[in-house]
Symmetry: C2
Subunit: 485 residues, 2 copies
């Protein structure tokens, strides 16, 4: 059902030629006409391929001459390190992350000049005008929308729309199986409360989104951090080992696509194995799929839920990163825990307000949504590339960089002795907000990492902020080196 | 600071004369001019008094002749019984209420002709047009409202407005102390999670709102039901006894004003004693104050929080019953648990969407809000009275009725052998939805009670539904009597 689109197959073909040196920097690419002939593809496929490689930084278009090979500066940077074996965190070493996170979040709550800590795109990357007009028109169509008691169970139209759109991720479901929540974070809360209790161990990716670590802490559950690769996601070997070692793992939580903060995308066979592994051990798998519509490929990656035939996967997602950061609409397919999840949802926050649900449902029913996603993906791809180039230029030697194949951020590994907390504080002095790596684990293992947001249009201000950031990291590195000397 | 307004003092004066028979049915009331002279009050006070007694059913206005005394039919009905002593429920007898509630709610989710189960007024009783216009105008003023990441900590303007409005309830607070939540139900969840754990005992009113019993069940906490009077609220003697008997009561939850379902309003000295009692035993007091703006008096009743000087009272409230049932805006003053509550709120659902908060803040800043409340109170008062009259006319002998001094419902006590579940089912057959008393306790003690909503404008359809309901109850009574014979 899901195959790699033709232009991407073609792009991979030329990319390996560039990587092998067959096509060197400065070489002219075959003309579009030639590409069409050689590969028997359409004009649009040939063009799509060239534009894709251009957005990814491998080609540059010269007016009236065609496309030429270039070496992105950023390929001088190695990708962030793969996890070392045997680095699993014992949940007994669990230390509360909330205080650490709150302290950092509190510091970052004042307005800053350059905000690189966000987990969404800038407001203007989303269809603000269309959504606004929809809101006003829906209010006219439904005069009692704000004063009528909310109909139970979440808006039916939104659930039907989400069910239909889920087909693109390989999920065949129905409106009845969907629970609407306040963002993905409420979905994760409900999922965890449905399958585990205080004191239980939950296997999570390492590094992982600090929001998840906070949820676990607030529910009294313990995170068991499983090594996770910046390219292929959670290590299945380590997870299986963990399952053999700990007999009270009550759930596994993964972000298979554009993992936060790594940006990794799990290969399909990994996802399938993961589903089987959890099923065999009767451990519920919680899948957080909030970013997948931002993957660079033209098709939505297949959800792990696709391979679930027993209801053992709880699928959670949200729209506020892909459609409207100001609306907090999440949703979930709770599989065999649906009744329990609905009970908790009702007792916890009742149902979401109707207006937001209707705005989103109406927008998603139209092709405007597809157009918006295509545009957003292209914009983010170009912005990731520009950020990566700037990082390669301005950050000190020894910096490593993972540029994910989609999403709103890059993952930077600084020289090992540099503390992200120190960089965070120094940057804040310069009115720049970043997301320090130490937020993403209960250990200190990621303290020399940064997650940098690429959701803002590249500008002189941003360029100069990245240059400043590079200097701060250099100074931090030199300071620790002279201290060690 | 808070004294009974003059017109109410005057009304009480004449009411006792009517009750004593000094003024008999059909007697003419002193003219307004006479009232002004006799009591040295203004024209508006005299008029206000007459209109109040008219709305309460004690006077009728005859064109060009003035006000005459009448006997509301409903005073033939005794108020619902006071609780019997020693009827406290042992939490060990705790049985899950959720299944019972869900079954009933599920049955009631199909559209019905007459819905008497609501806990809010009908949509047209709220300022739908003004709120709608505000929404559209705010969207124009803030073009990125829907696509901008939500600013942390809840909307500042709303919090400032709520702080200012709280002065009317005798609460002096600041925006910084307020947490915005998804309805009062999330506030109650956060409050309970902040002060207690699974397995702990929570003292609640009996009967109490089933939503609270569900929250407790979903958190694994146990409800200890304290006898509660339909007129003065929770029994302080029984509560004190309970505190002496059980040493693991971790919180007390009360609705001091227009308690749900009773409609009772705690006298000020009871509230003050309750605050002291909890403080002395270091048991947190959770106050749910969602209905107080609907109290018939022209001033908002003083919150228990008013007497709290140590942060031991967690005050929870919401706006969707008084301002906009379609918006789920709740808020809380978490006292000394504020940091913990904010942590849970962030981890559970992040922050509420901005648009709803701004709509409500803007509306509450204007005098339109006061005008709306005055109108709503008057409408509800008249509707309660009409319902009460109909119940007195149509319901069988032995029916007792508590008509609260405000709010959206009345509390009906049927002959003891009648089951509210049977009445619920028979009524649903006739397309009438009611709220059966068995929802309001983990015991069956309130199975012969009904909560009936008065939030809908009185109509022939409603009148005929009440007549049908009366017949159903009569048949149910006779059926059990003949079965017993």
């Amino acid at each position: 059902m899901h195959t790699t689109p033709l232009y991407r197959q073609l792009a991979d073909y030329y990319l390996s030629a560039i990587r092998a040196g067959t096509l060197a920097t400065g070489d002219r690419m075959p003309s579009v006409r030639k590409l069409m002939q050689n590969h028997a593809v359409s004009l649009s496929t040939a063009l799509q391929m060239c534009r894709y490689l251009e957005a990814e930084g491998w080609l540059e278009a010269r007016p009236r001459s065609g496309y030429f090979v270039r070496q992105p500066r950023r390929i001088r940077l190695a990708p962030a390190s793969e996890p070392r074996p045997a680095t699993m965190i014992d949940p007994a070493q669990f230390v509360g992350i909330h205080e650490r996170v709150s302290a950092i979040i509190a510091q970052g709550q004042r307005p800053v000049r350059i905000n690189l800590a966000r987990a969404t795109g800038a407001p203007e990357l989303y269809p603000h005008q269309q959504l606004r007009q929809l809101a006003s028109s829906l209010l006219r169509q439904h005069p009692y929308l704000l004063t009528k008691a909310i109909s139970p169970g979440g808006n039916r139209e939104l659930k039907a729309t989400l069910a239909k759109r889920s087909l693109d991720a390989g999920i065949s479901t129905s409106a009845e199986e969907i629970t609407i929540t306040h963002g993905c974070i409420e979905a994760l809360n409900l999922a965890l409360r449905a399958v585990a209790h205080a004191g239980d161990i939950i296997a999570v990716e390492s590094p992982t989104f600090y929001g998840l670590l906070q949820v676990l802490e607030s529910l009294g559950m313990k995170a068991l951090e499983i090594p996770t690769s910046p390219s292929t996601g959670i290590s299945l070997e380590a997870l299986e080992l963990a399952m053999q070692t700990y007999d009270n793992i009550k759930a596994v939580v993964v972000v298979p696509h554009l993992q936060n903060p790594l940006g990794s995308i799990m290969p399909d066979d990994h996802k399938q194995k993961l589903v089987r592994l959890c099923e065999a051990r009767q451990i519920p798998l919680i899948e957080d799929d909030s970013y997948s519509a931002l993957a660079s490929s033209d098709r939505i990656p297949t959800a792990a839920k696709h391979w679930d035939h027993t209801g053992n996967v709880i699928y959670c997602a949200s729209l506020h990163k892909v459609l409207a950061p100001g609306l907090r609409i999440g949703w979930m397919l709770a599989g065999r825990w649906q009744a329990r999840v609905n009970m908790f949802k009702y007792a916890q926050t009742r149902y979401n307000e109707e207006l937001s649900q209707l705005i989103v449902a109406t927008f998603m029913q139209s092709s405007n949504y597809d157009r918006h996603l295509r545009k957003l993906r292209a914009t983010l791809s170009a912005q990731r590339e520009q950020m990566a180039e700037a990082i390669a230029t301005y950050f000190p030697e020894g910096t490593r960089l993972t540029v994910p194949d989609g999403g709103v951020s890059v993952w930077v590994e600084m020289p090992e002795q540099v503390s992200s907390k120190a960089v965070f504080e120094a940057a804040l002095q310069k009115d720049i907000l970043i997301s320090p790596g130490l937020l993403y684990s209960n250990s200190n293992r990621f303290n020399h990492f940064l997650r940098l947001n690429c959701g803002t249009r590249y500008s002189d201000g941003l360029d100069s902020a990245l240059r400043t950031l590079g200097k701060i990291i250099l100074e931090a590195r030199d300071a620790t080196q002279s201290a060690a000397a």
